[in-house]
Symmetry: C2
Subunit: 157 residues, 2 copies
């Protein structure tokens, strides 16, 4: 059984995800970072950031990068009981990947009213025809996560 | 501009995707296969099948396998103008990946009333908050595509 969310851990792992997002920005990638923790919320399974341009991989959003890395490292096709921390509300592709991976809990930073798929758009985890329903919590370190994205896009306009 | 769909090509490439699905079944993977064609509908960019268990990758559905392979081969992060043939209606993760990759046209075989995300469930391509809207056509070689899946699951019950 996955333990209840711990606010100080949420903050800590979101800071770590933010660090990954900053690395992404420095590489010219959209600054979204993610960290995957084991069910104990103490063991780091994977961390990473967007790398669609770096890898020429349209699926390489931060969430999918860490899911893939953790599943490969653990040599298992799914990641039940794990907790994903990501700096931005997942898009439909990533929300679907989180379900496919059987992740227990999703914690995200900034809300994405435009392309988000958790509390916006298709609200995928609220649909009836899904075979796994992760817990989700948004708005952790929200202003830092959103600020980083805003600065990145402002500089590119 | 991507050309209009050609029924004889649809049948041909769906047979090729079905061949990939049969390879998947022989490897113990859920039999779904995919083929990605260039805008001319003649140049094969990638072909593949589900390999979540083979690769320990929760995101390795047939669609994402071929998108990744084609983008890597072409050294581009997106695949505008391309056509994806897949034996089963894509799930939310794959429907989202098809949008991320900017694929022009999706042709699928069997409908998936349970987990499909094109003509069922969230109907992702019909949503207003998406930044690319692929054309989609389902039901090509439908009974072959569905029959292969049915046989696979019947043998495992």
């Amino acid at each position: 059984m996955t333990q209840a969310l711990n606010p100080s851990k949420q903050w800590l792992w979101m800071q770590r995800a933010l660090h990954q997002a900053i690395l992404a920005a420095n590489l010219g990638e959209v600054p979204v970072g993610a960290v995957l923790m084991a069910a104990d919320d103490d063991t780091l399974l994977a961390e990473g950031h967007n790398r669609t341009r770096l890898d020429n991989d349209p699926s390489a959003h931060a969430e999918i990068v860490v899911l893939r890395q953790a599943a490969e490292n653990l040599a298992i096709p799914r990641l039940p009981g794990t907790r994903l921390y990501v700096t931005l509300e997942p898009c439909p592709m990533c929300a679907g990947a989180i379900i496919q991976a059987r992740i227990a809990q999703l914690v995200f930073g900034a809300y994405d009213p435009k392309y988000g798929a958790i509390t916006h758009g298709v609200r995928l985890f609220d649909q009836t025809n899904i075979n796994h329903r992760p817990e989700a919590l948004g708005g952790i370190a929200e202003s830092d996560c959103r600020g980083l994205l805003k600065t990145f896009f402002d500089q590119r306009r």
